[in-house]
Amino acid sequence: MRLNKIATAAVAVLLVVPLAACSGSSDTKSSSTAKAGATLTYWASNQGTSLDNDKQVLTPELKKFTQQTGIKVNLEVVPWADLLNRVLAATTSGKGPDVVNIGNTWSSSVQATGAFLPFDDATLTAIGGKSRFLAGSMAATGVAGQPPAALPIYSMAYGLYYNKKQFKAAGISSPPKTWDEFLVDAKKLTTPKHWALSLEAGSKTENIHTAFTLSQQQGGSWFDTAGKATFNTPQNVAAIKQYIDFMQTDKIVNPSDAQYSNGTEALKDFATGTTSMVFWQAAQASLKELGMNPDDIGVAPVPLPATLAAGGKPVTSMVAGINLGIFKNTKNKDAAIAFVKFMTSKPEQQMLNKTYGSLPSVTDAYSDPAFQTPNLLVIKDVLSKSAAPLPQVPGESQFEKLVGAAMTTLFADAATGKTVTSAQIADVLAAAQQQVTD
């Protein structure tokens, strides 16, 4: 008898424990929101040199926010490799953070899921008005004509970073403005032991960022106005061919770069002087971190064709940056909006962008002299004058994946000695286009 009782009790415990564990988490969440001092969960992206570094940068700022508003913030820094999947999982389950950082190129795709709180006019006014933000960065916050899905907090643009010392040694007085000049300079800089340019050629995102810019210069586009994919066009083929030819025909890039995929290797090569040039987003802070002498760092806009093709645009960069969004399911909507207001406020924008080496996304923050250095002014100029947002259509994330993967394969072919022809690029793009689902 006693044995039976014990067994029954054990079974009951075994059955109840997991259930209790499941319900426990949701209980605590709802009870904490009922109180006046709400707690927000914030997923930050990795902007610093490490996740810990981000935590060190953000924690004192979040403390300031708690002091001002009484709202507590639970910070989690999510690595880039996991961020999109985490956002997707939170979208599907309806349980996630209250506020989250996203790469601004995901804005429209994330917007299409309906998981984010749209920043309508009333909300924008509460934050300080749409006009405070840089127009360029605001163009990368979702489909045009719809309320933004997420607001820009860190802004960036691509520039051509070059090693001043090596340029001088090669007898080059100023950075190239056209692709013709670029190739002439690059060939001067390339020796049997030294490559002129390093590329993160195994990285899908880096590849499509460049493909986008080069295609804009050729007058191409990756989606039509209705949001349908138009990958296989002569302009896009020419853009990718030009990019791959840096390695294949012009031989100014080390074929080994085809396996650079983690988003730091090409920059490291440049920082250590192994190469003389690299296309990168606001890299000043990272380059210093990697030990490059700040006096050697030069930056210029990415070159343009000497004469633009018909329909070609003088675009030298995508609008890069990080946006801050609010999950629709948040139970602390007002607290979340207060947090976005705090993060886009002038002092925070100055403080955080200074630390991360990026540019503020609100105009009033530029009064700080830290954003008036010659190198940052070049990037700021690019952002305001010659940067275009990646296609703001729901299929954008598929473009990144499909075309990005196709380009890494093409680079791998070029690196391993196969010849990549325009016809082959067209085939690959046609296949990628067929795989886009809407």
Binding site: N4, T113, S256, A258, P394, K401, T409, Q434
Partner: protein
């Protein structure tokens, strides 16, 4: 499966054990009543396991099957209850081998089959070879066996990321040895992209897998009595004959399970290729689990991803079924 149970019954002593007296020594007062009252207990004790099995295995699997019939794209992630029914569209997309998506899946499937067969054959052979070498006791046998198990015992990420470093073109140890020391090739070959990537992933997985085959077969060999070998030697059997006529037949039960487990593990391996190649898997080494992952998470199309997973599940079930039926028939006739 039924055959397998039948095969084990003659040796079993199941009916006897229930009559055995309670060890406590007290004479059972009313054995029939007591047994009746206890009968529900085993089933109750099973409930937690069944509930967990349902929660962890069966229900997610059914959800995956269900998802494969819906148009589960990014537009319906937030409100997946509204995702439209897709009939067999996802399957049609995956199986239309004239279209890029189907062609890519077929390519990936073929790569995976070739990869699995090579890994299986090599891992099993090396495992058997090592097990035979360490079968007889010798000085330091324990240490040798432990060392051989190291690749299997290391955490996957730690060991595979080391391979990734070694396989780098300019700075990797592999090219340093092959090119700089031995001068076997001109120019540094790539190991992580292009055609060689298939070689690299196959070698790394064999390196990781064979110690398990070795472990299982070593354990199996422990139970082969030494006098069988003595008898074989007296009959004039050499090492090869001993292996063929004594070791392998007596290892057959172990090998039946081992080959199946190795096949399933290798076929489904995700961590090794993902760690080795990162986010961009070269086409030549596009293993199917990675392929399905990229199709689900890369394009946010979980319906198609699920359909591919279901197809994979069906394939593995068919292979496993045929394998078990074949192996069991052989046991019965033997």
């Amino acid at each position: 499966m039924v055959d397998a149970v039948k095969a084990t019954v003659p040796g079993g002593r199941a009916p006897v054990s229930s009559v055995v007296k309670v060890p406590g020594g007290r004479a059972p007062v009313n054995p029939v009543r007591r047994r009746k009252r206890r009968q529900w207990l085993p089933y109750v004790l099973l409930i937690p396991a069944i509930v967990m099995e349902l929660l962890i295995h069966i229900i997610p699997m059914l959800v995956g099957v269900l998802m494969s019939f819906f148009k589960m794209t990014q537009l319906y992630l937030g409100n997946w209850r509204q995702a439209p029914f897709a009939h067999l569209d996802n399957y049609r997309l995956a199986l239309d081998f004239n279209q890029p998506a189907g062609k890519a899946l077929l390519h990936s499937f073929m790569v995976t089959i070739a990869f699995t067969l090579i890994v299986l054959a090599c891992s099993w052979s090396i495992g058997l070879f090592a097990a035979v070498l360490t079968q007889r006791p010798f000085r330091g046998r324990g240490i040798v066996r432990t060392l051989l198990l190291v690749p299997f015992a290391l955490p996957i990420f730690a060991s595979v990321i080391t391979w990734n470093f070694m396989a780098q073109r300019d700075t990797g140890a592999i090219n340093h040895v092959l090119v700089n020391q031995l001068h076997l090739t001109q120019g540094n070959p790539f190991w992580l992209i292009g055609g060689n990537s298939f070689v690299t992933i196959t070698l790394v997985v064999i390196w990781r897998t064979w110690p398990f085959a070795f472990l299982m077969m070593s354990a199996g060999m422990q139970s082969i009595p030494a006098d069988v070998y003595e008898a074989a030697v007296l009959d004039g059997a050499g090492i090869v004959t001993q292996l063929r006529r004594v070791t392998l037949p007596l290892l057959a039960p172990v090998n039946r399970v081992l080959v199946l487990v190795l096949f399933l593990w290798t076929f489904n391996d995700f961590t090794t290729p993902y760690t080795l190649f990162g986010d961009t898997t070269p086409a030549q080494a596009d293993l199917i689990s990675i392929h399905i992952y990229q199709n689900s998470f890369g394009t946010w199309n979980f319906g198609t991803g699920s359909a591919m997973s279901v197809l994979l599940l069906l394939f593995l079930m068919v292979v496993t079924g045929i394998y078990l039926a074949f192996v069991n028939r052989r046991t019965d006739s033997a």
